[in-house]
């Protein structure tokens, strides 16, 4: 236990990434305060630049094994570092795409945008690295409260307001439910440390009840059915950059945290939560797909698509094995590039023309071939079509589930990929095949989003072929 104050503070030594992020946060806050009206342009560069530096610095962190700080309240390992790095990359990409928006429509509040986004990122860091339900809760709320503000960013837009209201209310409700569950866990297990919970967990009814309450709260964050209903409304109403952030980072971080907690705190009775998760996955994938089919608004469409993707991510979680963890993280990693590419295109077009309907995309290939091409790549990758990265991530995640003998589940998920392919192809069809009398005019993207899209495209195209990434994840992953 804690020997001295010095020992205590040495805990900060392993929080490199969090500390760096806090530095960036403060830097952005100060910059926003002092740069004034004229410096807005520089502010963006300052924010993006400093965060890019932080991202790069994140890759230098390495532990070799699992580390603890603050008496196990905070844990980290190479895998945690990697997940945070992945989150960094995603956030950076979102910044690239948001650049144009921040430069024009949102110019007055761009500093706040960066600050709030980075705050949620900090929350995610804490959530990911938590070893105790307290830190987990703090991280979770740090991640979600600023997010509500971000969703409401378009103050003049009623959709944005509605989306934010729905988000904050549901989030509060779900965290209430989850907290109730945690309180019961505490009551029945006597501790809030994950590993101590694991030891005290005996599968009592009250514990199962508590676990389900807890899972419901996580299900809200990852938007698993039936806790998903807020997703589409919020995604649709929120500014596109925020939606992108929400759909990838928030979901990814929550999924990884969920995985860690299930592995650490409930690993003695896996069949209980595996059975629950089994049904949740089936329902999630199916409902996500069924609802996505009829969507006409692309953001809403991607919301449902992301719900079904969340179901696929859970396939890795249900396996409970190192392979499961690897494939989950890998899936999130690939999903990040893929989904952000899609959102990049959508936000580009929305920013410049205000169109987000699927019908508006008719004939896009004729006017904006590159955008259409990238969108197609993204759609194919989301649908799991080789040789794009999405195929690999899907294959691995199925492999992880199949390893545990979940063949029926894999089969159901695969059948669902048919439906998902159908609606992904609808987008492709709109862009390539459908004719439009009033196509989206040729748009000129700004440099930042071009860089972002370029990175995404490269990611989609070649990540699957670069096996060292996956191998590295394998080497640092752990199971129950």
């Amino acid at each position: 236990m804690i020997e001295t104050l010095k020992d205590y503070y040495s805990g900060f030594a392993i929080m490199n990434q969090e500390l760096t992020l806090v530095l960036v946060l403060i830097f952005v806050l100060l910059a926003d305060l002092f740069l004034g009206e004229k410096g807005k342009k520089n502010l963006q560069f300052a924010a993006i630049g400093s965060f890019a530096l932080a991202t790069i610095s994140g890759f230098t962190v390495s532990f070799g094994g699992s580390q603890e700080a603050f008496a196990g309240m905070y844990v980290t390992s190479d895998m945690h570092v990697l997940v945070k790095n992945i989150l960094n990359i995603g956030t950076l990409l979102v910044f690239f795409f948001a650049h144009y928006w921040n430069k024009n429509e949102n110019r007055n509040q761009s500093g706040e945008f960066y600050f709030l986004t980075l705050s949620t990122l900090l929350g995610m860091y804490l959530m990911v690295s938590s070893g105790n339900f307290i830190l987990f809760y703090i991280g979770l709320e740090t991640a979600s409260i600023p997010m509500a503000a971000l969703v409401a960013f378009n103050k003049k837009n009623r959709d944005s307001a509605e989306a934010a209201a729905k988000y904050i209310l549901t989030a509060a409700f779900s965290s209430g439910v989850m907290l109730f569950g945690i309180s019961l866990i505490y009551g029945s297990c006597g501790s809030l440390y994950f590993d101590e919970v694991a030891n005290a967990f005996q599968g009592l009814p009250v514990q199962i009840l508590a676990m389900v309450f807890f899972m419901a709260g996580m299900g809200f964050k990852i938007s698993l059915v039936p806790f998903h209903l807020w997703t589409a409304d919020t995604y649709q109403g929120a500014p596109t950059s925020v939606t992108a952030y929400l759909s990838v980072m928030s979901k990814g971080a929550a999924a990884f945290t969920f995985l860690c907690i299930l592995f650490k705190a409930f690993h003695n009775y896996p069949e209980i939560w595996q059975n629950i998760l089994w049904w949740i996955i089936v329902v999630t994938i199916t409902v996500g797909n069924l609802f996505a089919i009829r969507q006409k608004n692309l953001k809403r469409f991607l919301a449902f698509s992301s719900i079904s993707q969340a179901g696929y991510i859970m396939l890795g979680v249900i396996s409970g094995s190192p392979l499961g963890m690897t494939s989950t993280v890998y899936y999130i990693f690939i999903y990040l590039f893929t989904n952000l590419a899609a959102f990049g295109i959508i936000s580009n077009i929305e920013n410049q023309t205000g169109k987000v309907g699927m019908d508006d995309y008719n004939g896009l290939y004729g006017t904006n071939p590159k955008s259409a091409f990238i969108m197609t790549l993204a759609m194919f990758s989301l649908g799991g079509i080789p040789p794009f990265a999405g195929f690999f991530s899907k294959f691995f995640i199925f492999a992880a589930a199949a390893e545990q003998g979940q063949y029926l589940l894999v089969f159901i998920a695969l059948l669902n990929t048919i439906i998902s392919l159908y609606y992904y192809l609808l987008v492709v069809k709109a862009m390539f095949i459908n004719k439009s009398e009033n196509p989206i005019p040729t748009i000129k993207s700004d440099n930042m989003s071009i860089i972002g899209l370029g990175i995404c495209t490269i990611g989609i195209l070649i990540l699957g072929f670069i096996s060292p990434i996956y191998e590295y994840m394998t080497s640092i992953s752990f199971g129950m």
Binding site: T326, I385, P386, F391, E403, Y407, V410, F411, T417, K429
Partner: protein, 484 residues
Amino acid sequence: MMAIIFCLGSEKKNIIRMVMAVGALAILGTAVYVTLDFLAQREAGDAADFLFRQDIVWYQSLNINYSVGVDGISVAMLLLSSVIVLTGVFASWGMEIQTKEYFLWFLMLAIGVFGFFISIDLFTMFLFYEVALIPMYLLIGLWGTGRKEYSAMKLTLMLMGGSAFLMVGIFGIYYFSSADGQLTFNIVEIAKNHAMPVDKQLIFFPLTFVGFGVLGAMFPFHTWSPDGHASAPTAVSMLHAGVLMKLGGYGCFRIAMNLMPEAADQLSWIFIILTGTSVVYGAFSACVQNDLKYINAYSSVSHCGLVLFALLMMNKTAMTGAILQMVSHGLMTALFFALIGMIYGRTHTRDIREMGGMMKIMPVLGVCYVIAGLASLGLPGLSGFVAEMTIFVGSFEHTDLFHRFFVIMGCTSIVITAVYILRVVGKVLFGPVQDKHHESLTDAVWHEKIAAFGLIIAIAGIGLAPLWLSDMISNSSIIMHFMK
């Protein structure tokens, strides 16, 4: 090993075409070279299962390798594919809209096909398999005709449905096939280990077989085929019916049956019923269609049914026949689709009721069509006969009533085939000219002739001298494996 040419960046249609033609020629050249080299190495006594092996570790932790190699069967399929790709390029010479994109997707399709045939790693194979499927959507949806969007979607979704079955099957094989705890995707090793418990085989064999069977147009999973072919542009129909459908048969053989022989043995009766049905069913359906492409699509159902049917007979002769039938059907159906495309390009109709007397108007196309038809109904001297006879003789190995019944039922298909082929020939080519406008139509132009003649030469070549091909195929260790 396979030199694939990308013609990015070129906006000039003629240049693209030339590049494609040269590239396809190079592919054919490579394939021929590989064949000759293969035969030479076999001659020299290299008895390894697969020649030209190349293994690159890819995903080490899952033991995924990029492993390629060829045996006699793959070589045969490579030859087939390269011939069809080349002729396909010539058949789509007249493609005017978005030429670059068209050929790019076309190439992607070709890459998938070639990759599939040379892979001996399940993962790599599956990867290429899906690579080959997806371009179809755009190729049909964009450059197709008729109800192209519906057809393209249906085709893609049904084939993806097949690959859903398939993927589960692959995982089953992967996780249950290891002998010493080392999981592997390598087909050769899995076959050698032969460690998969029979009860697991019984689960995963049907999944895998159906998965590939969908692509092989097995009844009742064939309905993508008529619509898909009907809507696809010429070269895509050619490649699809000619090569892509063979992926199904090849996969059934190489993966499902090779890796799970016991289950194949026990469950073959179910699939014999299904494939036997498709043989006759496809033929009967073709008899009353009025769209040329539908006729040919149903005919493909019938012929591809015969491929799977023969595979399930599980003896050397029948299996050799099945592979021969793949090659033969690939060539002749490609020829059919090429010709239909050319005729359609002139008459703008594929309805046989609206055509007549084409033989007079376009004698070259007419004669080619007759030859294709004769090949299809199994005329000696053309490839179809060789394949069908090998199949029937091989299938007759089984003495029990069940097999006999289905073999004889399969034999009836040769009559029904004659019926629908002659119906088309009689209506479209012979007889009086139906539409006065057709009289001014022109005959084949040079690139069309190249396409048609290339295929005819291949068909007749196999039909006249089949022994080398049949020997090359039947000497593959995988077929020997089934000699009980």
